[in-house]
């Protein structure tokens, strides 16, 4: 438990994406959840996805574990015995622990998101949720894959997106995108190699925080896909069934 692979946590340390891809160590997360049944299920499901889970069942022990050990991501339930989830987060932040936190909430009220993010959370998922949604968000928060955020040019295979000039090229050929399509591609490429769900796309590209109950996102993604794949042999934008989308260099 004391041994933490620091190199794996340093996603922003300047390694090239290919280097990191080669040495993805297992991600380690802390789950603070008082519902033992749910925690057991999540622990098992995360393990199957190659993620190591430490579990704390109340706020105090969660705070202790969170400040003593280092994790890639913490999942914190809002309502916890002995110490409220939000206060765990603010206490961790006060102690200088900047590990990304995903807040789970059974309350699910609209303003919960705001208070949760204000308390120092990085993402927020109301219950009930699909595990694939939680997994996708944890992986994005852990930032093991994808492109470092400070990069000005995102690259996946021969696809290039220039965040400054807003130009997209594939194999040197310019592809014209609508502003929203550009943001969609930008988000997908920043999280290249990771699954992003439809909800995550609606949140990050359109800034609406609810489950798109229909195929709105799919239609936008397929439009984008036709633009970036039309004249090329290699598909880049994959549909991950039951989960979402992923842009990845299969070559």
């Amino acid at each position: 438990m004391n041994h933490v692979d620091q190199t794996a946590g340093g996603a922003d340390s300047g390694c090239s994406p290919s280097m990191r891809d080669g040495m993805v160590a297992s991600m380690k997360i802390l789950l603070i959840e008082d519902d033992l049944e749910a925690a057991a299920y999540l622990t098992k499901a995360f393990r199957e996805a190659g993620i190591v889970v430490d579990h704390a069942s109340d706020g105090e022990s969660g705070l202790f574990m969170g400040s003593e050990n280092s994790y890639d991501v913490m999942i914190i339930d809002r309502m916890l015995p002995r110490r409220d989830g939000l206060s765990v987060i603010s206490e961790l932040r006060r102690k200088g622990v900047h590990t990304p936190v995903l807040i789970l909430s059974a309350l699910g009220q609209v303003d919960d998101r705001v208070t949760g993010l204000r308390a120092g959370g990085d993402d927020y998922l109301p219950k009930p949720y699909a595990f694939s949604e939680l997994l996708a968000r944890v992986e994005v928060l852990g930032r093991r894959k994808g492109t470092p955020e400070q990069d000005m040019v995102y690259r996946v295979a021969d696809l290039e997106l220039d965040r400054l000039s807003h130009e997209v090229r594939r194999g040197g050929k310019e592809i014209l995108l609508q502003p929203r399509e550009f943001r969609l591609l930008e988000y997908l490429m920043r999280n290249a190699g990771q699954v992003v769900t439809r909800t995550m796309l609606l949140e990050n590209v359109w800034d609406y925080h609810f489950d798109p109950q229909t195929n709105v996102i799919d239609v936008h993604v397929s439009r984008l896909r036709s633009k970036i794949e039309k004249d090329f042999d290699q598909p880049l934008l994959k549909t991950v069934r039951g989960a979402g989308y992923m842009i990845k260099d299969e070559g």
């Binding site: 699910g108 929203r180 609406y208 489950d211 109950q213 229909t214």
Partner: protein, 470 residues
Amino acid sequence: MTTFRVLYKSTAVRLSALYIVLFAICAAFLVFYVTALSERILGQQTQDTLQQEVSDIQRAYGRGGMNAMLRMMERRARQPGANLYIIASPTGEILTGNVASVEPGVFETEGWTLIPFRYERYSEGGATTDKHQANGHVFVLDNGLRILVGRDLGEPQKLRFLVRRALMVALGVMGLGALVIWFGIGRNALKRIDRMSAASTKIMAGDLSQRLPVGGSGDEFDRMSESLNAMLGRIEKLNEGLRQVSDNIAHDLKTPLTRLRNKAADAIGRKDEDGRRAALEGIIAESDQLIRTFDALLMISRVEAGSVAAEMSFVDLSAIVADSVELYEPVAEEAGLSLVADIQPDVGVQGNRELIGQAIFNLIDNAIKYGVGADAGARIRMRLVKEEGGIRICVADNGPGVPADRRDEVTKRFVRLDESRSKPGTGLGLSLVEAVMELHNGRLELSDTDPDNAVARGLTATMVFPAPEQ
């Protein structure tokens, strides 16, 4: 007696009793004040008259001596309702006058008699029995004779007596009347309250269709009954809605759960890996749909409970409508519809952006799902306009529309007019829109897009926000 005790307990009766007591006190004060004032004025007048008499007599004495004075006094004494005129010796014996005797000591002090004195008057038969009281002015002549000019106090006393009797009678009548009215009102009120409690007992027993009796006179009781009845109506409606919701939930969740179960059974039975995988994926999709339904249900109840009201801020409606057009335009196109929008710029309200966004998305979603009935040129028109009566966001399709008599129904939870449930959806979309509009003090209006078109009347759903206060 018990009736009285109950009567006394009633607030109305106690209040009216209090009013009567207060009124009586005021009336008594008024009457005493009026008598006191009139007595004072009367007394002043008596004094003035007597003063006049005294100076007249003194002048007569000065001009014509004893004889002239006596003549004048005699003349005046003979007039009806005359004052008292007495001439007494220096020792106080009455020498002459229209008075038989006076209380001893009256002549001793000159000037006004401070206290009324008693005197006896000659009566008709010459007997000296009548006893009276009078006030007077005594003066002494230079020959030592004492003259008293006085006035009987009978008149003011009679006045005072009259006024007091009138007051007593008035108070008596008032008290009696009040008692009768009090009893009448109280009994009437009690009867009505009895009827009301009888009705509320039935309501408590669970019969929410009961209403409190309304007399029709429009009095306080009627007003109270009416407002309580309105409340009961609302409760009944909510209760009915709740019952319907739980019925619908039970029904609408049973179906997917059964499907889920069947798919799971199917997955177990599958030997081939691909088939099993497909069955499991079906289970996931089915579960996701269930989760969505629950999410939507929770969201609606939260919105209805108003617990999201704290998250209100300025919302740029023009931007949201533009977003929604941008988001749904490809979807509509894919479904074979065109989506056109007419957006007035810079329109905003205080509200919750997420909820308003979701409501608009739901309306467009419905329009796409149900607006495809038209043969050619299926089209969704969106409009955002700020008018005097409020801000309107219209989403109009030219599909088959919703018959006017079923429009109330479609906003209810789980109600879907398409009985086959062939289109995907939770049946909660319009319920959420309605809840969101209620949260924003607005409303959802449903109307025909083209009432003259029998086949494709189309549905126009309009979110109406109240006009922002200036």
